[in-house]
């Protein structure tokens, strides 16, 4: 076995006739923050649940922290912290009791970890879990995943349901653990949820891992939607001559275009005109695939 945090070989799961994932060969190094990106239903959760032995592979193997995910599953689960995508917490308990219950199953966690993490996330520990909002339940799940300071964090859509401020708190936690040498495996359907923390991303689509890239390379090629409204007269010249700019359209004084890679050239060009508003949207995952593969497939 290797020294990877996660290593899968030909990992495949069928649910009856329908495919969950097929032939996933994935390697996540120790200490890295790895983003696992794909649209909903692509197989992210299936992969994660296979790693934790919650479901069993049709074919292939997975090793987590050098332990076989099947034969040494207990050890795998001891060393990992898991935040489920569809989090359901044991009911009729206060958040504190719920977390202590999970901590006891683990054989205890370091003192004050629950309090400290809850403080940071703004979680009120004395409220009943059933009465918590979706976001607050998610915080309980985050604390449960982090409280024993695991070697490997497996977080399935960790920021869903959290407001942007709390999303940053979670990202800060991830950065801290990463700096302390822990590995983080982070799944999401949106690039902007992982781009600030992950070093590499794997992209999964329709059950297959189609690419593993450095996030910087991915973003360099990503197409951003840009919408510009001018206060006065817009540029007379064609903006599409600027490097990276394409698909320019003008309608009712609003210019819409797409930019691949850095926006610098475009912004410098626009600075010559009275810009009223400029909005730039995160590229959708599908568009990243297209930007990345459309060309290579075309030749």
């Amino acid at each position: 076995m290797s020294d990877a945090a996660i290593e899968t070989r030909d990992l495949t799961k069928f649910y009856g006739q329908s495919r969950g994932i097929e032939g996933i060969d994935l390697r996540v190094e120790r200490g890295e923050v790895f983003g696992f990106l794909g649209p909903n239903g692509a197989g992210k959760t299936t992969t994660i649940r296979l790693l934790l032995d919650l479901i069993r592979a049709t074919r292939g193997t997975a090793a987590v922290c050098n332990c076989d995910s099947r034969a040494q599953s207990l050890e795998v689960r001891r060393r990992t912290g898991y935040l489920p995508g569809e989090l359901r917490l044991p009911g009729r308990l206060s958040a504190r009791d719920c977390l202590e219950y999970l901590a006891h199953i683990r054989g205890g966690v370091a003192r004050n970890q629950i309090e400290e993490l809850s403080d940071r996330l703004g979680l009120e520990l004395d409220r009943t879990v059933d009465d918590l909002s979706k976001g607050n339940k998610e915080k309980v799940g985050v604390v449960a995943a982090f409280m024993h300071d695991p070697e490997l964090l497996i977080l399935d859509e960790p920021t869903s349901g959290l407001d942007p401020l709390r999303q940053e708190d979670v990202q800060e936690l991830i950065r801290e653990r990463s700096a302390a040498g822990r590995t983080v495996f982070l799944s999401s359907h949106a690039l902007d949820q992982v781009e600030h923390v992950a070093g590499r991303v794997g992209i999964i689509k329709e059950g297959r891992l189609i690419s593993v890239e450095e996030i910087s390379a991915l973003k360099r090629r990503a197409l951003r939607h840009v919408e510009i409204r001018f206060a006065g007269a817009g540029p007379s010249e064609d903006l599409s001559r600027i490097p990276g700019v394409r698909d320019v359209s003008v309608k009712d004084g609003v210019v819409r275009l797409r930019v691949e890679g850095p926006m610098d050239a475009l912004v410098k060009e626009l600075a010559r005109y009275p810009v009223q508003t400029l909005t730039s949207e995160e590229p959708e995952l599908d568009e990243i695939f297209l930007a990345f593969y459309g060309r290579s497939h075309a030749g």
């Binding site: 919650l54 001891r78 898991y82 489920p84 359901r88 917490l89 044991p90 009911g91 999970l102």
Partner: protein, 266 residues
């Protein structure tokens, strides 16, 4: 072995358990309270002769001698009412133990912790056993105290024998529900399977008394093993109890194997 899951299961069920306990005390107590008036009314003593044998067998454990202490307690408490209450409770709790946790979606998080699936099932069964034991103690105390209050003369040992039979029967079918729910998702199915087998077992014993062709098959019925052997008059049927315990262990074992082999639903 740690016991957090068992304690948590008891904690989640404590309020329900309290109400079920009150129900047992009230229903059983009420039945026993009627003993003096039944004993003193001559007509009731004979009415059983007019009932078909099969009905007598099913609903009163074969005999309806309402005047004798054993006859009264058997027909009014131990033949039907007490097993029914405890079985409904136990099957419900057994079906909820694993399948209910899965339907609520909490099984995913629990089994992602360092917790062996076998450990999980065993702890759930331990909690079930403790709950059934608590209800049985409620039953036993009510019958013992109630009998004394209305001059219903019966030895404590015989009451233990009958209550123990009820407990073991309830535990067996609770374990069956737990096992079905562990092996396959779905609380409804788990409860339905256990309830159907329990009902069949009860029918087999009752009809076996009335229908000669079925009589040799009666020992196959767990109900017969627990209560059909007249524990109220003959005391603890040790061999039958051993058999019931073995069957229960078999169910729990099957539940462990079933859960270990399968995918957990999200």
């Amino acid at each position: 072995m740690r016991a957090e899951v068992a304690f948590q299961a008891l904690r989640e069920r404590r309020r329900a358990l309290l109400w079920w306990g009150l129900g047992v005390v009230a229903l059983v107590g009420l039945n026993i309270a009627f003993y003096p008036s039944v004993r003193d009314s001559a007509g009731l003593a004979d009415y059983s002769k007019d009932l078909p044998k099969a009905l007598r067998a099913l609903f009163a454990g074969g005999e309806i001698n309402l005047v004798s202490a054993t006859g009264y307690l058997n027909s009014q408490v131990f033949a039907l009412m007490a097993p029914l209450i405890l079985l409904v409770f136990s099957i419900g709790a057994g079906a909820t133990a694993v399948a209910g946790e899965e339907e609520r979606g909490t099984l995913d998080l629990l089994l992602a912790q360092p917790l062996e699936r076998a450990d999980f099932v065993l702890q759930k069964f331990a909690a079930l056993s403790a709950s059934v034991l608590a209800l049985t103690l409620g039953l036993l105390v009510t019958v013992a105290v109630g009998s004394r209050l209305v001059d219903l003369e019966i030895g404590f040992g015989k009451l233990v024998a009958a209550s123990g039979g009820v407990a073991l029967l309830a535990l067996l079918f609770g374990a069956l529900a737990l096992a079905v729910g562990a092996a396959r998702p779905g609380r409804g199915r788990a409860a339905a399977v256990a309830a159907a087998v329990a009902a069949a077992s009860w029918m087999l014993d009752g009809l076996g008394q009335a229908v000669d062709a079925l009589d040799p098959w009666r020992p196959l019925s767990p109900y017969y093993q627990a209560l059909g052997t007249s524990p109220l008059s003959d005391g603890v049927p040790w061999a039958s109890w051993a058999l019931l315990v073995a069957l229960t262990a078999l169910c729990v074992g099957a539940g462990v194997v079933g859960l270990r082999r399968r995918d957990v639903r999200q």
